[in-house]
């Protein structure tokens, strides 16, 4: 670890976040939108671990643990909602979800 600075990791983290954001914006398949959300959370995790390592402080790493917990439960609930939606609408594309009631 001589020439790699935390800035390299931060640039990588912002790239991951930006790619995930792009996926959330341009994709219409809700499964892939959920995966892009995971990618955004991963970018945040990389930045947190890099700061934690560079500042010699364990708190950031422990926060990453909690982010992983929340992301796992978010994915589980999101996929259950998606299955319920598919039973009702027979589609998982976001442009088909344009009605509030029946």
């Amino acid at each position: 670890m001589e020439t790699i600075t935390p800035q390299h990791f931060l640039i990588l983290a912002s790239l991951l976040f930006a790619i995930g954001f792009l996926g959330v914006i341009i994709r219409r398949n809700i499964l892939i939108v959920l995966m892009s959300l995971e990618l955004m959370l991963n970018g945040i995790n990389v930045a947190l671990v890099a700061f934690s390592r560079a500042g010699a402080n364990l708190d950031g790493s422990i926060f990453v643990f909690f982010i992983m917990t929340v992301a796992a439960s978010e994915v589980a609930v999101g996929l259950a909602l998606l299955v319920a939606l598919y039973k009702k609408r027979k589609s998982i594309f976001s442009e088909d979800l344009n009605l509030l009631g029946n």
Partner: protein, 191 residues
């Protein structure tokens, strides 16, 4: 260019390339597989940052559990590739999305530019690792051992740990209720 730099480049390319291919792949199954590649790349970056416990957790939780759940749902719903018709709305949304993301990335680079971590222009040296995270009281220092991680979780962050456990329980109950098959009953008062 030493070995660590080369490894950083390889794994950064792996994670970013996997993410890009995930966003632009047509079929959801290949998107999930590219996502696994990206997550494993991020786990290798955690190893480079000497957060070994988090790297193992990343592989187990994300690449193991979450992506298997994704693949399971993709196969359960049996969704094929997205329709290939390039409508005007689709192209417009792609252009607007690219502009938004490009400006977001430029903004993040602008903020990061010129701000050295400790205010000096000398080459940054990473702090020494300590074996025991509890060396100076309640301020936990970074250490790669799982023991100090567990100490931090169970001593300083006891309440958040309990809350996250309760969150997992609530998510489990919510998923069971959401996916339970309700017996069809005509509701007279609504219709």
């Amino acid at each position: 260019m030493n070995l660590v730099d080369l490894l950083f480049l390889v794994f950064a390319t792996l994670s970013v390339g996997g993410g890009l291919l995930m966003v632009f792949s047509r079929h959801p199954v290949s998107a999930a597989l590219f996502m696994i590649v990206s997550l494993v790349g991020v786990a290798a970056l955690f190893v480079l940052l000497e957060a070994f416990f988090l790297a193992i957790l990343q592989v187990l939780v994300y690449a193991g559990a979450v992506m298997v759940l994704f693949l399971f749902i993709i196969m359960l719903l049996d969704v094929g590739p997205q329709g290939g018709k390039a409508s005007r709305v689709k192209i417009l949304s792609a252009i607007v999305g690219l502009i938004l993301v490009g400006s977001l990335f430029c903004l993040m680079l602008q903020i990061g530019q010129g701000t050295e971590v400790d205010g000096s222009t000398e080459p940054f040296d990473w702090p020494e690792l300590t074996e025991d995270a509890t060396a100076n009281g309640n301020n936990l220092t970074f250490s790669p051992s799982a023991k100090s991680f567990g100490f931090g979780l169970l001593a300083k962050y006891m309440l958040p740990l309990q809350v996250s456990g309760f969150l997992l329980l609530a998510a489990m109950v919510g998923v069971i209720i959401l996916s339970k098959k309700t017996p069809h009953q005509p509701d007279q008062e609504e219709s």
